[in-house]
């Protein structure tokens, strides 16, 4: 069985400050991990996936197998980053989501 944990329900940062959203997982295999984002009144959408090693909207996430973590980071938060963020793990075709972290970026 797989499990995704996002320990922070709420995260508030000031504009321009760094932001880090924590995600830990448990999985007996080689994990495929994702971050999804849901902006206010918008659909849930993919932000980034670990296998692509991409940076989207200034966000990056590194898979740390030793610590079983996939934390999402951005060095300088912007007000438009305010949203709900979900970490997800793919088991073949199912996505297992964490409970989500609501990020508020204050001016």
């Amino acid at each position: 069985a797989q499990r995704v944990t996002q320990p922070e329900k709420l995260l508030s940062v000031f504009k321009g400050a760094p932001v880090e959203l924590k995600c830990n997982y448990s999985y007996s295999g080689s994990p495929e991990l994702f971050w999804y984002v849901q902006y206010s009144r918008q659909r849930l959408q993919l932000l980034l996936r670990h296998i692509s090693r991409e940076s989207i909207k200034g966000f990056t996430a590194d898979l740390n197998k030793g610590e079983t973590s996939f934390h999402l980071k951005k060095p300088f938060a912007q007000e438009e980053d305010s949203a709900m963020y979900y970490c997800a793990l793919s088991d073949d075709y199912k996505l297992s989501f964490g409970a989500g972290t609501t990020v508020t970026v204050r001016a």
Partner: protein, 116 residues
């Protein structure tokens, strides 16, 4: 092109009534998923359809829940004898193929179900 669409956007029903939720996936997407988003509990996988294969129903919480996918396209999630704990946002997603790391799932806007 159009994304995943769901109807209705909101549904209020009385306890004990049956409800049907509809999902129209992106044209050409063979995989379709239903998830439930409950307050404070994240998203929970319900059911998965892939082409003509037997669906994976392992996430359905009880036998009151069922889903069909007709003609490999539109899907309907049915909840019989609704209970208050069924209140949630029901999300549908579709993808080109099976969800591997390279097959992005595209989500619909959801149906907010409220059971009084």
């Amino acid at each position: 092109g159009a994304g995943v669409s769901q109807s209705p956007s909101n549904k209020v029903t009385e306890k004990g009534k049956d409800v049907e939720l509809r999902c129209d996936p992106i044209s050409g997407h063979t995989a379709l998923y239903w998830y439930r988003q409950s307050l404070g509990q994240g998203l929970e996988f319900l059911i998965y359809f892939q082409g003509n294969s037997a669906p994976d129903k392992s996430g359905l919480p009880s036998d009151r829940f069922s889903a069909e996918r007709t003609g490999g396209s539109v899907s309907t999630l049915t909840i019989q004898r609704t209970q208050q704990e069924d209140s949630a946002v029901y999300l549908c997603a579709s993808s080109l193929g099976s969800a591997t790391a390279y097959n992005e799932q595209f989500f619909g806007p959801g149906t907010r179900l409220t059971v009084l």
